[in-house]
Symmetry: none
Subunit: 204 residues, 4 copies
């Protein structure tokens, strides 16, 4: 029946509304200073409704993060679709990340915040591990390939992933960029340094 379909759609919409409000509020006030009341108000829903859709605050947080990660990885996949060259693919990582951060700064900040929280980090990283681990493997494969192709030095791929990841994160943490183009510029610099280092080649 069409009626049931609509109901399902509506329910899904409602869930999305909550996730969006939660993301916004978490990012604005910080997870711990953000009450369920605040989210409910932002979502223009009753507070108890949040509990109808999500078991508790922690789970709501997790779902928010999962949504963000999935979105990011989707973007990543899309960006890679048209690329074959290993170096271009590696460069695409920070470029895509930069775009994602420009478009959804809240996800980024929230993710960082939780990464640094001793207790929450455990909970979230455990829950999101499958998702992250999965993508991590892909990144590692990419760097393995890069090493094999003699594109990059024989550094353990996991280290390379971590270093590049760190550099990207840093763009999000430090910068308070006014324009989106600023983020892109910064990402280009990151890539430049990552590949070539900062030394001025004197031989030339």
């Amino acid at each position: 029946m069409a009626k049931e379909d609509r109901k399902k759609r509506e329910k899904e919409n409602r869930k999305q509304t909550i996730l969006k409000s939660a993301l916004y509020s978490f990012a604005k006030h910080g997870y711990h200073k953000c009450s369920m009341d605040l989210i409910a108000e932002e979502a223009e829903l009753g507070k108890a409704t949040l509990y109808y859709y999500f078991k508790n605050k922690d789970e709501l947080l997790l779902e928010v993060l999962k949504t963000g990660l999935e979105l990011f990885f989707e973007n990543m996949t899309k960006a890679w679709e048209s690329l074959e060259d290993t170096r271009e693919k590696i460069e695409a990582i920070s470029i895509t990340a930069g775009e994602f951060f420009a478009e959804h700064p809240d996800y980024f900040r929230l993710y960082l915040y939780l990464s640094t929280h001793p207790k929450l980090n455990k909970i979230t990283s455990e829950s999101l591990r499958p998702l992250v681990q999965n993508k991590n493997k892909v990144f590692i494969q990419l760097f393995k390939k890069a090493v094999k192709e003699k594109l990059v030095k024989p550094i353990p791929p996991q280290n390379l992933v971590n270093v590049l990841g760190t550099l990207i994160m840093g763009v999000g943490m430090f910068g308070h960029y006014k324009r989106k183009s600023d983020i892109k510029k910064r990402m280009k610099l990151i890539n430049e340094i990552f590949f070539n280092g900062v030394l001025l080649d004197k031989k030339k």
Copy 2:
């Protein structure tokens, strides 16, 4: 009088005890999940005693952070004392940071945590700005010199500071290092990549 001196010393000691307990507890539980009771228990003092030494929780946090930053900058200064060469000085930054992080992981984590919190970041960064700004200037001078000496490419010094800072932070965020030597190795890698990039020189 010697008596008064001893009293002063004892008071200072007590303050240090509290700061230490606070640091430990903040880092263990995260600032928001760490109650004043917890800190008091850790310090084996009455809760009200904390308030005798520090105006409130926020101020206690600030003092903890300030202590940490000062300690780090002291280490930095000491490390630089015996160095003249620009590149060596730059390398010393991550090395020192690595040692500091190995020795005092709690400071590092707490600092990161606060950096990513939307509200707390404002408060703390404003209060600690003078301290940080001061050191930042020194770092910028160093990179300016590096550019002038044609050691590194003509990249804006502030960007270089940020990128290097980010890389160092990342070591703290990502790694769960078992041995202290692991951190040092990682810091060496950071320096290596920062200076030379990851590209394998094919000309050879």
Copy 3:
């Protein structure tokens, strides 16, 4: 819907219950020695429930006072409805006040208590000023009329209001009246003295 109406009524009732308990407890123990726990217990509600209905203790106090003032002014208005004569109207002031005080001694005492507190007086009098000011104007008009009608001596109306007000307040402060009729008698005496003074006319 009737259902919604009932809910609204119930909520209003609950609020009234709290206000009543608060008034009783404030008056019994004094605002500062009266904890929110005490009020909650008196109202047979959880302490947090008080905060559901009132933002904080100060606001609860204000609402209590506002309720009292409004009730008093309503009584005043009713008492005046059937009166035309200026003197009768003036006399009605203390009579009504006396009745109000007999019926609701707590309001009176609480109001007095706050009037004399240096800090609270500022807060409350500012919040209640519109209400009080409004009625004050009416009283002043009445005395202006009395002066114009040559009923009373040409004393500035505001002074007359203050003196009469003071006399009435005093009945509340001093007296510990056993019977309600005692208050009424006292109010009659107040009126008598206010109008005629205490001098025995010797000419007669």
Copy 4:
């Protein structure tokens, strides 16, 4: 020995300092919002010192009040010394009170505040009762005499005392007088009304 005398004097001085600081602080912040710390700071003494001179906060309050009352009654006695006429004596009450209030507004306010506090009133009024009762008797005698002399109407003397007392208190409660002369004017009005009432004699 002179040395012991000096010590005694110093001790007495110290006590006076504390009483003065306590009065000032109580009046400024209100008894309940005035911590012992505040008083100690105002007195430029250690907090524990207060407890050396006074058993506890309540007793300190009592002593403050007692000092004030005694001072007021002294003034009263002095004012009456040169007066014989009953009416003049009665008029001297409010005049003296006005002067006292102008000179020591803090005593007045503090006294009023406590009079209206349900718990404190009991404690203080019990402790100060002998002092007050004593003077009350004198006032009653005065009014008895006034009645007997056919100066005033045959109203029960206690009532007269209360009404006059009330009128005087009211001057303190209501008014926020800029100049001392304003208080004196107001006291004259009080006397005028008290003796003659507000009615305009139409027979003339």
